[in-house]
């Protein structure tokens, strides 16, 4: 599992790659917390993720809360039908904005104050 970060127009994008979800431990929380010192706009790109687990769901929901507290937001993009199904089961779809692509997500985040 690798995690790359990019900055596009003040939006921090996390590109997840790979399916070794056991690699997710507490590191992810630390990375997001560090990111929150620099930005209040985050995109989580799940394009290359086939699987997801409750830990990553927890990371996404707590990151969402962190960004909202900073008057920003978090958007998840490229979510497969299977992962959307899982999001629905745990009600994550009710609190997280999901868009089909990066451009749409950036356009939305640009409307928020930095």
């Amino acid at each position: 599992m690798s995690l790359k970060t990019r900055n596009v127009d003040g939006v921090l994008i996390f590109d997840f790659d790979g399916d070794d979800i056991s690699a997710f431990k507490d590191d992810m929380h630390i990375i997001i917390e560090e990111a929150s010192k620099k930005t209040n706009k985050i995109i989580i790109n799940l394009k290359n993720m086939q699987h997801i687990n409750s830990h990553l769901i927890g990371v996404i929901s707590s990151s969402k809360r962190m960004m909202s507290a900073l008057n920003g937001d978090l958007v998840v993009i490229n979510v497969s039908e299977k992962i959307q199904n899982i999001f629905k089961v745990v009600h994550l779809d009710k609190i997280i904005k999901i868009t089909t692509n990066e451009t749409e997500a950036i356009d939305y985040l640009k409307t928020l104050n930095s």
Binding site: N48, Q50, S54, I57, S61, S62, E81, I86, V89, V90
Partner: protein, 270 residues
């Protein structure tokens, strides 16, 4: 000349000239061909019809080749998928193979290569069908694992489960994989608190139409929730309970021993 295997093929590409070329050639080879220039429509067609093979372009607007592979493999993990890509696009080829594509072909399409790769894909599929035949008289398999609290064992055992589910003719396995991931992670990280001197015992029973998984850790256990009325906290941000909730949602049955350090879960084949 060796006899050729024929089948029903779904071809996905936003370039109509490629669709026409492949449709004409594959039909002349005796295959039944369905073409689609839109990824979402293609997935709908795949859900509604039986196909033996899928050929998909890599670069398309909206859903691209990787999205197509992910979605189709979720519906039928045994279907062979061949990816069409521009010469030199190795990164996405590697990614597509990781996602379970059978092989790839570069554009411009070489008809001889198309024939050869399709035949290889059909032969591979025939091997899977033989495997399914094998499972008509394979009635039960019980496997046990004992491992220390090493989370990296998760992928190894998951791979084994996936492989065995293939033997037993399961086409969609992700719900079982997800439940196993949650329960094993819980045993290692929360039950045993990742202590290296504590072990996790896993027993997996593959029955004719059902899989039963038991995972026991050496931790203190926990207060077993009322699973019949189990629901997530009203606080969506609450950090705990999602793992058990997911297992409860995707498996047919789930139970714990009194101490709360052993979970047994089962799912019948759909």
């Amino acid at each position: 000349m060796a006899s050729r295997v024929i089948g029903k093929i779904l071809v996905i590409d936003d370039d109509e000239s490629i669709l026409r070329l492949l449709s004409k050639f594959l039909t002349s080879e005796g295959h039944t061909v369905v073409t689609e220039n839109n990824g979402s429509n293609a997935i709908d067609k795949f859900k509604e019809n039986h196909f033996d093979l899928v050929i998909t372009d890599m670069y398309m607007p909206e859903l691209d080749g990787l999205d197509i592979i992910r979605n189709i493999k979720d519906i039928n993990c045994n279907i062979p998928i061949i990816v069409l890509t521009a010469a030199g696009s190795i990164t996405n080829v590697v990614q597509s193979l990781k996602l379970g594509a059978f092989n790839y072909m570069t554009k411009p399409v070489n008809i001889g290569e198309v024939r050869e790769i399709i035949q290889k894909a059909f032969l591979a599929n025939a091997a899977i069908r033989q495997q399914k035949n094998f499972c008509t008289y394979l009635s039960t398999s019980i496997s046990t694992f004992r491992t220390n609290s090493d989370i990296t064992r998760l992928d190894e055992i998951s791979y084994f489960i996936n492989h065995m589910l293939g033997f037993f003719g399961y086409s969609s396995t992700w719900q079982i994989q997800l439940a196993f991931t949650e329960a094993f992670t819980n045993a290692v990280c929360h039950g045993n608190m990742s202590a290296p001197d504590k072990f996790v015992n896993v027993e997996i029973k593959f029955l004719k139409d059902e899989i039963i998984i038991t995972i026991e850790d050496e931790g203190e256990g926990f207060k077993v929730p009322d699973l019949k009325n189990y629901r997530l906290s009203d606080d969506i941000y609450a950090g705990s309970g999602r793992g058990i909730f997911l297992i409860n949602s995707y498996m047919d049955s789930i139970s714990f021993n009194e101490k709360g350090n052993r979970i047994t879960m089962s799912k019948k084949r759909e």
